[in-house]
C-alpha cells in the first residue's frame, strides 16, 4: 500500500483583547492610538441604542418583527469599518450594525422594519444590497456582485454577512465554491452567535469550526473573537485587502453570542436557560472595548454619558421622523414592479387605487 498526505489544513483563532478588554499583546497599527478607536466604540453604542429603540417600538405596536443584534455589535461595526465606501455590503437581517456604519440611516431601518419598502431605498450606500431575510440566499448575490467588480477590473470588494445557521444552506456552499474557483473579491463573514433560532451551533454541523467550511471551497478560512471589534476589523481589513489585490475569496467566522431573543417574535426561554445567557454577558463587545479605552485613558465616564445621550437623542429624532413619514400611495405596489408597467396591469392598478373593476 502507498499512502501519501496530499493536503494539510489548519484553522487559527485570533483575538487582540481578552474578555475583560486587556490587550493580549501589541495591537494592529490602526489601533495603536486608543483615541482612534473611539469612533468604533461610538458605533457600538449607536447600534445598541438603535436596537433597544426598535425593540421598544415593536413592543408598543409601532414596528414589525425585529431582529436585535444585542451582543454581536462588534461583528458588524468591525467589518463595515474595514470596508471602503465603494466596497459593497450584502447583509443579512441582523446586520444593522454594519448598515448603520455604512450610512443607512436609522429612519430608513425603521421604515423597513416598520413595513415600508422605502426603507431599502437607502440614500447612502446605493450599491449595497438590501438585507436578505431568506437565510444564505444572498451569498450568490454577493458572488455575482464580486464577479461584476472583477469583470470591470475594479479594485473593490464585497462583504457578505451570514449567520451560523446559514452555513447549513446549499446556497452558501455553492456561492463560496464558485467564488473560490473564480478567485472573486469576496469576503464571507459568519456571525456565529451560537444559535439559529432554537438550534444550537453544535446541532447545525459536526464541523468543529465554521471557518473550516472554507476548506471545501479551497479558500482561506479563519476564526476571530467576534466580540473584539479590533480583531474583527483587522481580520476583515486583511481579507478585503487580499480581495482588492486580486487574491480572491475568504471566509471569516466571528465567535459571538446572541444575547437577545432571535427576534421580537421569539421567546428564547423556551429553549435556553438564563444561566447560559448571563454567562455570555461577561465579555460582550461594548463593555470590552470600553474597558480597554478607559484603561488607556481614552474614554471617561463623562464621555460615556454624552455618547449615550447623543445616541438616545439620535434615535429619538429618528423615531419621530419615522412615525411622521407619510404613507406610500397604494399605487406603489405597481410602480416599481417593472421598469414600465405592462399594459395588462394598468386596470389592476386602477382597481387597486379604488376604481371598480370589470371581471378579471
Amino acid at each position: 500500500m502507498s499512502t501519501s498526505r496530499v493536503a494539510e489544513f489548519d484553522v487559527v483563532l485570533t483575538r487582540y483583547l481578552d474578555i475583560d478588554g486587556a490587550p493580549l499583546g501589541p495591537l494592529p497599527a490602526f489601533a495603536a492610538d486608543a483615541a482612534d478607536l473611539v469612533p468604533l466604540y461610538r458605533a457600538l453604542i449607536r447600534t445598541r441604542t438603535f436596537d433597544a429603540k426598535a425593540v421598544a417600538l415593536q413592543r408598543t405596536g409601532r414596528l414589525g418583527t425585529f431582529a436585535s443584534s444585542l451582543g454581536q455589535e462588534a461583528v458588524g461595526v468591525g467589518a463595515a469599518s474595514a470596508m471602503a465606501a465603494d466596497d459593497v455590503l450584502v447583509p443579512s437581517f441582523r446586520d444593522q450594525a454594519a448598515q448603520l456604519w455604512r450610512g443607512v440611516t436609522p429612519v430608513e431601518l425603521l421604515l423597513y422594519w416598520g413595513g415600508d419598502e422605502r426603507g431599502s431605498d437607502f440614500a447612502g450606500p446605493r450599491g449595497d444590497f438590501p438585507i436578505s431575510v431568506p437565510v444564505a440566499s444572498h451569498v450568490p448575490h454577493a458572488a455575482g456582485v464580486a464577479l461584476a467588480l472583477k469583470l470591470r477590473n475594479e479594485a473593490r470588494a464585497v462583504l457578505c454577512i451570514i449567520g451560523d445557521g446559514a452555513t447549513s444552506k446549499g446556497d452558501f456552499y455553492e456561492a463560496l465554491n464558485i467564488a473560490g474557483a473564480w478567485q472573486l473579491p469576496l469576503v464571507v463573514l459568519v456571525n456565529n452567535n451560537q444559535w439559529a433560532i432554537s438550534v444550537r451551533r453544535e446541532a447545525q454541523s459536526a464541523a468543529q469550526t465554521l471557518a473550516q467550511k472554507a476548506i471545501a471551497a479551497g479558500v482561506p478560512g479563519e476564526q476571530v473573537d467576534g466580540n473584539d471589534v479590533i480583531t474583527v476589523h483587522d481580520t476583515v481589513a486583511n481579507a478585503i485587502a487580499r480581495a482588492r489585490a486580486g487574491e480572491g475569496t475568504s471566509l471569516i467566522e466571528a465567535l459571538t453570542y446572541r444575547l437577545s431573543d432571535h427576534t421580537t417574535a421569539d421567546d428564547a426561554r423556551r429553549y435556553r436557560g438564563d444561566a447560559e445567557v448571563s454567562l455570555h454577558w461577561h465579555g460582550e463587545p461594548v463593555a470590552r472595548l470600553r474597558q480597554y479605552l478607559v484603561g488607556q485613558g481614552a474614554w471617561s465616564r463623562d464621555d460615556e454619558e454624552h455618547a449615550l445621550a447623543d445616541a438616545a437623542d439620535e434615535m429619538e429624532r429618528a423615531t419621530e421622523a419615522y412615525l411622521a413619514m407619510a404613507p406610500q400611495p397604494v399605487s406603489a405596489m405597481f410602480d416599481h414592479l417593472f421598469a414600465t408597467l405592462p399594459v395588462s396591469l394598468r386596470s389592476e392598478r386602477d382597481e387597486a387605487m379604488g376604481g371598480e373593476a370589470g371581471h378579471a
Binding site: 413595513g115 419598502e117 431568506p134 406610500q328 405596489m333 392598478r349 371581471h359
Partner: protein, 326 residues
C-alpha cells in the same frame, strides 16, 4: 378536545397521527424544543421523543430530500418548512423526486410524505413571509396540494394527508392560525382529500376559494344574505386533485361564480376553476366568471398589506357585478 384554533388543531392532528402510527416522524427547523415558530409542533418532542421529532439544520432542500429517503424506507415524514417563502428551495425535490418516485419505479418505492408550511399574508409579517405560492405546486403531477381554512378542516385534512400513501403539500394560512376557535373532536376522523367542502348553500351565486380568503367569503355571504341574495360558499380545500364536480354542480344551480384566492391573479390556481367552468360548465354560466385575488404584484410589506389582500368588499362587488347579469 375543547375549542381549538387552527394551529392547535394542526398540533392535535400531528399528535394523533404520531400516536396511531409509529412510522410518522416530524422534522424541520425549530420543531423540537421550540415547538415550531407558530407552535404547531408544541409538546411533540416531549411526548414522542427525539427519535420521532427532530430539529434540522437550516437546509430546506435537504429537509425535503431526506423526507424522500425516509419515505422510501417506509416512514411517513411530516416536514415543516418554517414559512412558504423558504419552501421554493424544496420544489426541485418535490417535482423531480417525491412526486415521481412511485411512477418511476413502477411502485417499487413510494413517497408518503407531507410537507407542511404556513402561507399567506395578513399578519404583518416580515418580508418573504406573506406569499401564497400554491401555483408553484399545482401543476406537478403526482403531488396533492391541500389548504385548510378552519380548525376542524385543518385537523381532518392533515390527518388525511399524513395517512395518504403519496406526497402532499399542506399549506396553512398564517392569518387563520389563531383567528377563530371552534370545537374540534380529536377522534382521528379525517376528511377526504378529493372533495371540496360546501360551507353554505344558497343558490343565487357561488363563492369558491381556499385558505385565508374563506372567512372573507363567508362574511361576504352574510352581507349578501342581508341584501336578499343567497350564496353557495365552497372551500376548495384540496386544490389537487380538484373536485370540479362540486363546483360545477353549484354553478349549475347559481349560474354565477366568484373565485377567490390570495395569490396573484395571473397563473393562479383560480384560473383552473374558471377553466372548468369555461369548459364543462359553460352552459350553466349566466354571468362572466369573476376572480377576486391578490394583485399581480409582490405582496407589499405590512403598511400596504391591506391594499393587497382581497377582502369582503371586493368579493361583494364581484358578486354584485355577477348578479347584474341575466
Amino acid at each position: 378536545m375543547r375549542d381549538a384554533t387552527l394551529v392547535e388543531a394542526i398540533n392535535a392532528a400531528l399528535a394523533r397521527a404520531m400516536q396511531e402510527d409509529e412510522r410518522v416522524l416530524v422534522l424541520g427547523e425549530d420543531v423540537g424544543k421550540d415547538g415550531g415558530v407558530f407552535r404547531a409542533t408544541d409538546g411533540l418532542l416531549a411526548r414522542f421523543g427525539p427519535a420521532r421529532v427532530f430539529d434540522t439544520p437550516v437546509a430546506e432542500a435537504a429537509i425535503a430530500g431526506m423526507s424522500v429517503g425516509l419515505a422510501a424506507q417506509g416512514f411517513c415524514p411530516v416536514a415543516e418548512i418554517q414559512f412558504m417563502g423558504f419552501a421554493y428551495a424544496a420544489i426541485d425535490q418535490l417535482l423531480n423526486h417525491a412526486a415521481r418516485l412511485r411512477t418511476r419505479t413502477r411502485g417499487r418505492l413510494s413517497c408518503p410524505m407531507v410537507l407542511r408550511t404556513p402561507c399567506g399574508a395578513g399578519v404583518h409579517a416580515p418580508e418573504h413571509h406573506s406569499e401564497s405560492g400554491e401555483a408553484c405546486f399545482t401543476n406537478i403531477p403526482g403531488l396533492r396540494v391541500v389548504v385548510p381554512s378552519s380548525p376542524r378542516r385543518g385537523y381532518g385534512l392533515l390527518l388525511a394527508a399524513i395517512r395518504d400513501s403519496d406526497p402532499v403539500v399542506f399549506l396553512e394560512p398564517t392569518r387563520l392560525y389563531r383567528a377563530v376557535r371552534e370545537p374540534v373532536a380529536d377522534d382521528g376522523t379525517s376528511l377526504p382529500l378529493d372533495r371540496c367542502i360546501t360551507l353554505r348553500e344558497g343558490g343565487d351565486v357561488t363563492l369558491v376559494g381556499w385558505g385565508g380568503v374563506v372567512p372573507e367569503m363567508l362574511a361576504a355571504a352574510e352581507r349578501l344574505a342581508a341584501e336578499g341574495t343567497q350564496a353557495d360558499v365552497i372551500d376548495v380545500a384540496t386544490l389537487v386533485p380538484l373536485d370540479a364536480e362540486t363546483i360545477l354542480a353549484s354553478v349549475a344551480g347559481t349560474g354565477r361564480c366568484v373565485i377567490c384566492h390570495e395569490a396573484p391573479l395571473t397563473g393562479g390556481f383560480g384560473a383552473e376553476i374558471a377553466a372548468r367552468l369555461a369548459g364543462p360548465g359553460l352552459f350553466s354560466l349566466l354571468a362572466p366568471v369573476e376572480r377576486v385575488t391578490g394583485w399581480d404584484t409582490i405582496v407589499p410589506l405590512s403598511r400596504l398589506e391591506r391594499h393587497y389582500l382581497p377582502g369582503v368588499e371586493r368579493i361583494l362587488a364581484a358578486a354584485r357585478r355577477s348578479l347584474r347579469h341575466g
